[in-house]
């Protein structure tokens, strides 16, 4: 997945951007590329659903499932609005519902923002979108992925915890606990079972 020139350590996010404005598509594409993201830009909600394989045309058998880490969509679009696209994605009973969706709008309408956040939008960006906005988003998404990976490996570590204290198993009648005799103590048997 690494592309020449991109840092090998950082995961490359694939962002699907949706906007009916040609100018805005050009700008968002550049903002994302300069932030080292893989970008797919489409002009409508319908096209976005087609791309994701959610339009009912292709059966989501997963053989050709496109991996998208973030969807950024304009709010005001003819046909399907960004809000409607958001709802459709959040109604999916699969991995698609987990994809964070960000709404972009040139209008700072509180009720609109609330509605989108209530429907599950990750964030609401005021247009024109800035480089700082994209960077912040990217950091947030990448952190989420790292946390996911950490959680999985953390579970493994917890099941082989060897930090039980020695003193608890020494009876007052016997000789004081001697680490050199640990092979014969009940404690070592406990350790061995783990």
């Amino acid at each position: 997945m690494a592309i020449a020139g991109s840092p090998s350590a950082a995961p490359q996010l694939h962002v699907l951007a949706v906007d009916d404005s040609l100018v805005d598509r050009k700008v968002i594409e550049r903002l994302l590329k300069i932030s080292s993201c893989k970008v797919t830009v489409v002009e409508s909600g319908t096209r976005a659903l087609q791309y994701l394989g959610l339009d009912g045309e292709n059966d989501a058998l997963g053989f050709d499932s496109v991996k998208v880490n973030l969807i950024m969509t304009d709010y005001s679009m003819p046909g399907m609005t960004g809000y409607e696209l958001l709802k459709k994605i959040k109604q999916e009973s699969s991995v698609f519902r987990e994809i964070p969706v960000v709404i972009m709008s040139s209008e700072n309408v509180l009720t609109r923002i609330d509605r989108c956040l209530e429907e599950g939008a990750e964030d609401f960006l005021l247009k024109p979108v800035k480089l700082a906005d994209v960077r912040r988003l990217k950091d947030f998404i990448v952190k989420g992925k790292v946390k996911e990976g950490e959680k999985r490996s953390h579970k493994r570590i917890r099941s082989i915890d060897c930090s039980s204290p020695l003193s608890a198993t020494c009876s007052p009648m016997s000789l004081p606990c001697d680490p050199s005799t640990s092979l014969l103590s009940p404690l070592s048997a406990k350790k061995a079972r783990l």
Binding site: S21, L22, V23, L31
Partner: protein, 150 residues
């Protein structure tokens, strides 16, 4: 060498005047920051797309206002698009007129809309002329072997 330095100085002064006169705003700076050695023509590309888009929209607006019965919803939709794209490239004065234009649409005020359309066309021709001059100056510097980005 002196020639290039002089051209660069003129470019800086000219660009500053465009900001000072309100033709351009911070968003234009943002666009310039997105340009690099790998994408040297980015700003020209986006602005050119804007010009094409604006030409189309102004045509639509003129047609719509020429109808016997004006469809204000459709009119507003077009103005909204122009407002958006002008904002995206930092064309501040056009953006401002579009805001007034949308108000006129909301009030279903034909006279107001006609006036706003005239204003938009005027501002558009001004900023188009300014930006084309800016790009010409940049090209001159590049042709002479100089660079245009700080």
């Amino acid at each position: 060498m002196d020639g290039i330095v002089e051209l660069q100085r003129q470019l800086i002064d000219y660009t500053a005047s465009l900001f000072h006169e309100g033709f351009l705003d911070e968003q234009f700076n943002q666009l310039q920051q997105l340009e690099d050695e790998n994408n040297p023509g980015f700003v020209v590309e986006v602005v050119t797309l804007f010009f094409e888009d604006a030409d189309r929209l102004l045509n639509e607006l003129t047609k719509a206002l020429g109808q016997p019965s004006v469809d204000f919803k459709s009119l507003d939709a077009h103005v909204h698009q122009l407002k958006g794209s002008s904002s995206s490239i930092g064309a501040h004065r056009i953006h401002r007129v579009c805001i007034s234009f949308r108000n006129s649409c909301e009030e279903q005020n034909v006279e107001g809309c006609l006036k706003n359309l005239q204003q938009v066309k005027h501002e558009y021709s001004l900023v188009k002329d300014r930006l084309e001059t800016l790009f010409r100056m940049e090209q001159q510097i590049l042709n002479a072997g100089g660079s245009v980005r700080r």
